[in-house]
């Protein structure tokens, strides 16, 4: 209450404080600009692709086959079918193995093994996709011919570390207290993992899977070698070499026909939309798994 106390504990800002406040504002401004720039980049990409590709989007685009040489119209129905098959088969290969690897690493492996295999996965993650493409080409295609499932195999190699690492991270987030609670009931380790740990981490596992699928859907390099000599019919047979959307974009752009260029943009739009939807979906799964783990 006294004047001395008021002066001693003054609430008015000092010069140093005013300087700090200025610096604060400056940093905030810089941060905001950087964030806006990042948003702008994505916005530009989306806008550019949408603008150029939207024109060619119609029902035919999704249902028709590509036009024979010189003709107009048509669509990329075969590419869509092919992409679906290739990605589905790749997911069927990569997802179970990736999840099991993660379970092994997190629940059962000794710390040293965990570190070594983790390193292997990280290296695998960084392998250029074209190297993987050549590898699969050399291993499976030379002398045997191309096939969609072989492309799936290549994509699965790309997806595996993504699924495994994401699953491992979310398994590690499951509190030990839950495992202890189950073990203390006289339940075995394996049943505990399957019945308590994995269900709790399910949201995070879906997140990892979704992101892996998004990545695989857009990979082009392996498809170049392994599934490029294709029919222009719609086929769902994985033993055949099937057309895929990324490859279609590539081929359309190489064509002299300007209409094909438009189709390339449209195909890019389809692919981008697919990846965007998957990314949003993965975020939703993440939020769900956070809710489950939150106390």
């Amino acid at each position: 209450m006294s004047r001395a106390a008021r002066e001693r504990y003054s609430l008015r800002p000092t010069a140093q404080l005013r300087r700090r406040k200025l610096v604060n504002h400056l940093m905030e401004a810089i941060g905001t600009i950087a964030a806006l720039a990042a948003v702008a980049v994505l916005g530009l990409v989306v806008w550019a692709v949408a603008k150029r590709g939207a024109g060619a989007l119609n029902r035919d685009f999704f249902t028709e086959l590509p036009p024979t040489f010189g003709e107009t119209g048509g669509g990329i129905a075969n590419s869509i079918a092919g992409s679906i098959v290739i990605v589905l088969v790749a997911t069927a290969m990569a997802l179970p193995i990736g999840v099991l690897v993660a379970i092994y690493l997190n629940e059962l492996a000794a710390p040293r093994i965990r570190r070594s295999i983790g390193l292997v996965l990280d290296v695998l993650n960084g392998l250029p996709s074209i190297v993987i493409g050549i590898f699969v080409f050399g291993l499976l295609v030379i002398g045997h011919g191309q096939a969609a499932w072989k492309a799936s195999f290549a994509l699965a190699i790309i997806m595996l570390p993504l699924v495994a690492r994401a699953t491992q991270e979310v398994l590690a987030l499951v509190p030990d207290a839950l495992r202890e609670g189950s073990l203390a009931l006289g339940v075995s380790r394996w049943r505990t993992t399957l019945g308590v740990v994995v269900p709790t981490a399910l949201g995070g596992i879906f997140t990892g899977a979704t992101l892996a699928v998004a990545r695989a859907a857009g990979e082009t390099a392996p498809l170049l070698f392994v599934s490029s000599v294709t029919t222009s019919q719609v086929s769902w047979d994985p033993k055949q070499a099937l057309q895929s959307i990324p490859l279609t974009i590539f081929e359309f752009l190489e064509s002299p026909n300007p209409e094909d260029h438009e189709k390339a943009w449209a195909a890019a739009l389809v692919l981008m939309t697919f990846v965007l939807v998957l990314s949003l979906l993965s975020k939703a799964f993440l939020a769900r798994s956070r809710r489950k783990l939150a106390r």
């Binding site: 609670g181 339940v187 019945g195």
Partner: protein, 285 residues
């Protein structure tokens, strides 16, 4: 004017007849016979040379300052220490005469009969029903699951509060309710012994009181061992009390030891060891 004759006839103090639970030592059935038990984490001993017997359908409390091995000791009774890398157990723990750490003994079946409830409630992120039914389902007790779940929840004094929302998530319950749910979960597999590691320390006083009343009911059917840092709780709830303390050596190393183990009424009215007296009177922690 005071009376001149001797008015009080000398009478020897009569042994007080307590509730039916307290019986002379010779009549108690031994569930755990612990002989010279020591636990090491790596090289350093956490607790050394523990000798005691746990009796059937009684509540045995382990009290003492923090860090003197109470939790370490109780986790030996259901081999939960196996889960800690580098943990080693010396000495013997006989459970109904069987060596708990003997060759060929599967820790999973040990925990089937000796359940545990932890300090912080840890319900599974499943529904209330599934939390309680999980253990029995996995262990093959599928018949009459609904009845089993209800019985367990009734024993844990939680049934009335949750009977209309069994399918809701267990995480929506309050702290005290979650802990009672964890108790129900442990009871659902019909164990022989229930170990409680500071079950009420994360709860408010009213929830604590509910747990204490619950323990009083449970000891009719189960053997209960409880670790508590709240000695008044031990005084209220336990039939037998074991006091652990720290043994500090000249080289500075320290480990937990069992100082005194006796009937609770003795520990809190006339402890034998001065360290026990110092601890329960609050003069020395």
């Amino acid at each position: 004017m005071a009376p001149t004759t001797d008015t009080i006839v000398p009478v020897a103090p009569i042994e007080v007849a307590q509730r039916e639970q307290s019986r002379p030592a010779a009549q108690r059935e031994v569930v755990f016979d612990v002989r010279d038990l020591s636990v090491f984490y790596g090289k350093s001993p956490a607790v050394k040379g523990v000798n005691l017997e746990i009796y059937r359908t009684m509540v045995t409390a382990l009290i003492g300052p923090s860090g003197c091995g109470k939790s370490t000791f109780i986790r030996c009774l259901n081999r939960m220490n196996d889960l800690i890398a580098g943990a080693r157990v010396d000495g013997k723990v006989l459970y109904h005469g069987q060596d708990l750490y003997g060759q060929g003994v599967d820790p999973v079946s040990v925990r089937r009969w000796i359940g545990m409830v932890f300090q912080k409630p840890n319900p599974f992120p499943k529904s209330i029903y599934d939390n309680v039914a999980w253990g029995p389902r996995v262990l093959g007790m599928r018949k009459g699951l609904d009845d089993r779940v209800q019985r367990a929840l009734e024993q844990a004094a939680l049934w009335d509060e949750v009977k209309n929302r069994l399918k809701r998530s267990a995480l929506a319950l309050s702290g005290g309710q979650q802990q009672r749910l964890c108790i129900a979960r442990a009871l659902a597999v019909e164990p022989d012994v229930v170990l409680l590691d500071e079950p009420a320390s994360a709860l408010d006083p009213i929830a604590t009181s509910a747990i204490e009343d619950l323990i009083h009911d449970l000891k009719r059917d189960y053997t209960i061992v409880i670790v508590t840092h709240n000695m008044q709780q031990a005084a209220r709830v336990a039939d037998m009390t074991a006091f652990f303390s720290l043994d500090v050596h000249e080289d500075g190393s320290r480990n937990g030891i069992l100082v005194e183990y006796d009937e609770t009424q003795k520990i809190f009215t006339q402890p034998t060891d001065s360290r026990t007296e110092g601890y329960v009177t609050g003069r020395f922690g």
